[in-house]
Amino acid sequence: MIEKVLKEYAQKTDFIDVRVIEIKKEVISFEGTQFNNIFSDKKSFGVRILLNGGWGFAYSCDFNNVREVFDKAYRIAKLNANKKIKFNAPSFFDKKKYPIKLNPFEIPIEEKIEKVNTILKLLDADHIKNKAVLLNCSNIKRQVINPCLNVSQEFILTSLKLNITARQGDIIQSTYEGYSSLGGYENIERINLNEFTKKALDRINRLLRARPPKPTKTTVVCNPQMTGLFFHEAVGHACEADSVLNKSSLFSKTGIKVGSEEITLLDDPTFDENGFYWYDDEGARAKPTTLIENGVLKGFMHSLRTSNEMNVSPTGNGRCMDASYFPIPRMSNTVLKPGKWSEEDLISEVKEGYYVKGFKGGVVDTTTGQFSFGASECFEIKNGEIGENLRDVTLTGNILNCLKTIKVANNPQKTHLPGRCGKDGQLVRVGDCCPSILVKEVIVGGRHS
């Protein structure tokens, strides 16, 4: 039905496309004292029409009234139709399915509950006050259709997450461990639950003994996970072409030196990490995009709309959370090319500073370049040696000041975290593969002690 109506409307519009996205989820979770077993199924379609320069977008989850939604998108596109513009769009016919060995939806739920129970037993300790474990299996079908294009992709995503809160005296700390990857239940089977749980337990025990940092501006060495967050938040968002076009990015044109020569940064949806896809949600083929090369700003990430406006080729970054959203430029996998230093080299050159591991979320103001990241763990560095453990550490600073000072190590790592990035109310899955970095001019904040 959708394809038939699309052909009719294609006759009277300058461009039209439709996304049909279905997300099925099975979640087994435990928190505190309660198990929650949930199944969800969300399917909707979104129609986008360009007519004489005016864009109209309408969506619905009611597949009985398809024509009504097309009509609405057409009527509202007319509201702002005032000039003819040329719009280039891709043309492909393809169907892709991410390979899996074990379909997680065919694994008995009892088996998944047992997995969660095993973790819960491993966490039995008096000082652990709350445990939350979540095993999530998602089946994501994304289809985009325009008169010359019909691309379908199917992904299975499996993830296991663990949150624990512990208390010792007056000190309360919480920590998180997670694994997420495209692929079937074999991903969950591969996880060594003892090691997975032990990592979280060891960390929470260290955090309980840690002290808060003294607020200061200093040098930090970020481990690969934290580097991933740093480049995603501090640089990636400013390289999304919509923020460049609407002048809310600190970057306005390419060819400018923005950081140290050691920085070569790519967005790569073809890289097999959490942000992988073959085509974006507008049907543009996924490809790596160099954002910074040897410290010089080289490119931006585009949706079809921004690539048409800036007269460049699409980069395959037009993404949406589901069919109820207009696709916008989004990151996929953030990849920082390895440098020449070992992580030990970077640590050894710091007289006084911090080593930060893992992250607890981040945010950036792309106009001013101000950023703020939470570190899941932090250690003091004194005279090139790792020292005391610190807790509740936040890193803040300004992107442009920090980028100039960066030195890059040679230890890239995939994070395999259940990474989701939020922008304009839309969450999309993202990943990264980055080495450790040394960065100066960072404000390390926390409770003043």
Binding site: S29, T33, Q34, N36, N37, I38, F39, S40, D41, K42, K43, S44, G54, W55, F57, A58, Y59, S60, C61, D62, F63, I76, A77, L79, N80, I109, E110, I113, N130, A132, T165, R167, Q173, S174, P212, P215, L245, N246, K247, S248, F326, K360, G361, V363, D365, T367, T368, G369, Q370, F371, S372, F373, R391, D392, T394, T396, I443, G445, G446, R447
Partner: protein, 412 residues
Amino acid sequence: MEDILEKIVSYCKDYFVEASISEVISDNVIFENKHVKNFNSGHEVKLNVRITNGKKSGYSFTTNLNNWKECVDRAVKLMKISKELKVKPVFSSFHGSKSFIDSSIHSLSLDKLMLKGKEALSQSDVNIPSFELTKEISKEYFVNSNLIKSFQERSEFSVIMQCSKENVSSWDYFSSSGDADISNFVSNTISLCKKSLNPEKISTGIYNVVFDFHAFKTLLSLFLPNTFANNIINHNSKFEGMKGELVSSENLTIIDCGILERGTNNCIFDSEGFNVIKKPIISKGVLSNYLNDAYTSAVLSEKPTGNSETLLFRSSIGINNLIVRPGDDKIDTSEYLYVYDLMGSHTANIVSGDFALSALNVFYKGRPIKDVVISGNIFDIFKKIVMVDKHPRTTSSFSIPKVLIRDVQVIS
């Protein structure tokens, strides 16, 4: 929709069923640099089903109402293999029906929204990367096996705006259950951006700080989860066992309620069908109430307060409409460090209360300031609230005045 819910209750005779359907119809126009970028129109329907038998529950959700039987069957299947809850949950016997629709919202068509936006932006002399106007009508139907049938609907008109000029920016939003003149909102946001130009630095140190609406709302988002009963029973809260104790300055009173004038979260029942009760959370600094849903109230032997956020979890708790009670006097912001907004609340440790947040649009004795981080412990600084302004700002589901806090750690 009511038909489907009735069918679900009849279909599922062997177990206790709670089911809700929510429907949202929205129209939205987005401007970029004062020109219309695009129009959006949406229609979303969701069915949530929870099946309970004794101490066991299963949950299911779909956007396809034609598949309601499949949705119920899945919830039954999940219930059967689930683990037993600690206590038997309680169920609502509250009946109610209420419309919070403002007729002026109904008449706001997309072209009227566009005209409203164009008019508001006509005088602006700064860059406006994003300006978004939205009209939304939402409806919620609830049934359960106690033969409860409840219904509520509400309207919302909202505006989100971002301004920038010479590497400074400002951001704000406005939201109300009825139509509104937005010219003041737009000129205030532009004025904030212009006032923030040419910022200077200040020294790291201890300052008395005035937190404006957004900044104090961010601080509340670190403080209030400690009053949620699911965090209490899961030992994830600093306020466990502290009901009746002084937990903040006596200048602070916080109320949760179902109805706020022009509030966008107005409701008479929560997602489990329980009546929403107006109650103080903090009363003159004293922790007065935990916010409960059906399960936490059973565990704590308290009454549900109508704060369940979803049928799909046991349990998930949230605020309905929130009021910070105004003080008697006006705060002179030009005497203090004045913070308009804070970013990065998700980087804080909600359990320990330790935080370090970047401040946006900061002024010291009237002059714009850059690169400021506010750092500390939320439980400590809430004890240092010196004054609450007499004029609250009400937008969305919050009514919050400016708040003055003494001896705040500022890093620059």
